[in-house]
Amino acid sequence: MACDALMVNELINSDSVGIVAPQVAYFDEPLQLICGRDLPSYELVYETYGELNQQRSNGVLICHALSGNHHAAGYHSTDSKKAGWWNECIGPGKPIDTNHFFVVSLNNLGGCHGSTGPNTINPSTGQLWGPDFPPMRTTDWVQSQAKLADYLGIDCWAAVVGGSLGGMQAMRWSLEFPERIRHCIVIAAALKLSAQNLAFNEVARQAIESDPDFFGGAYQDHEKVPARGLALARMIGHITYLSDDAMANKFGRDLRSGSLDRGDTAGAEFQVQTYLRYQGSQFSGNFDANTYILMTHALDYFDLTLQYDNDPVAAFRNAQCSFFVVSFSTDWRFSPVRSREIVNALIAADRPVSYAEIEANEGHDAFLMPIPRYLDVFRAYMQRVAEID
């Protein structure tokens, strides 16, 4: 009890949004999907931080990345050790300041943290959707997020914000609903995936699909989980999220066990091996394999320019909002070059844009990290978003 009280106290006194509880929005109007099918009804799980103002003009939508979910900030209980995935950036006095903004963070359709997806029940069969869940595109997510905005009574977001795949959704928002978004904040993203990006995603899917416990995605029917495949997929992904430098700093060639001595027959295990295995097994216990496949496909199929004759300038001419683009120096998954493609297209399309390239060692994962310059410039931009809503 004393320990709990201490924890609560700490939460209240800190710059955290504190204890938060997920909510559920139910939609019974069908959602037309890009794939041609529709979802007859669906649920979206979401969290909110801060208060919606009277003009309903201070809403900020957070779009999550590949393996993200609705729990972006705060804690689910006094005993939860882990804060939401973007706790560094969302909270009182933080870049996305909950003293000012009403922040909405949801689990996307197809996810595995409560929103309608492969491991929820398909009402027409009474069975789990499993591999039959329709494929999702970022446009589908944006359409469903717009329904959530309607549900919450938000006509126009002060900002739509996302990193990585989340940044792609933010850009899609600027084109799908130009009049419903004032600022688009795109962090460590790209206009589309490169062949190398596609290749990594394919290896990740192959890892899952070749797990004997996968059963073509119907693993739940067999009461199995393709844990090894999912762990392997995560390990591959994780390598692409870190930079060479970050791995060198964190692990180097340090050994976890054994030795490299002459005559040592047992062999040695490097720290980086242990770390990756731990990450993989943690992930496979918390994430759904079908969702992972669905999310990587959504990432692969994302191409902001496809319906604009492959011309990003023509695409961005449809946007009406201001843009803030951020990249990180050692990010090789979506490198600064990819962000500059976005910025240059916006410049050529005569859209207001600011761009910062953050010096950071952490690779793609840097967008989740409390890097001082990143937080400063992000806060500076969000303050101006706040000034005019």
Partner: protein, 196 residues
Amino acid sequence: MRLDLSHIQRWIAPGSRVLDLGCGDGVFLEFLRDQRQVRGTGLEIDQDYITAAISRGLNVVEQNMDEGLSNFPDHSFDTVVLALALQAVNYPDRVLEEMLRIGREGIVTFPNFGHWRCRLMLGIRGHMPVSGFMPHTWYNTPNIHFCTVNDFEDLCRDKGIRILARNTVGNTRRPPILSRKWPNLFATTAIYRITR
């Protein structure tokens, strides 16, 4: 406001589009936006300046102009400003050409190395000039391409760049007539409005 900036703001039409190369903390673009309803974009490489300019609500792009400006379309701005940065770029001639490709007009300000004090320091004392305005020593200065008023005008002639107006800032303790009449000797800062 810095003296060269208070001179050049008169040349910027209300409501026009301005690209400020090396916009610093954005104080000039902010002035143009608030007083002239200018739609501005700044280029900057200093991270603290970028944050400061973003705080002012300006559009600032982190970009090193030494790596080119080809991402800016032809004639996409009315005026391109290069204030006290000409001497710090790798290829001043190329930057000038790019300015006049991107903008209808360019405004350039630079410290005049032909100023009598500079000549005195180099000619008599035998040292590279150091002043309050140019406080760096030769080995750590970001200013790598110093020129004089005469040098700049020669370059414009060679490149077919038309000088629409010239203005000078001299030592405030001396009569302004000196820097107007003999800019190469008395202007501390030279200010040009140029076009093709």
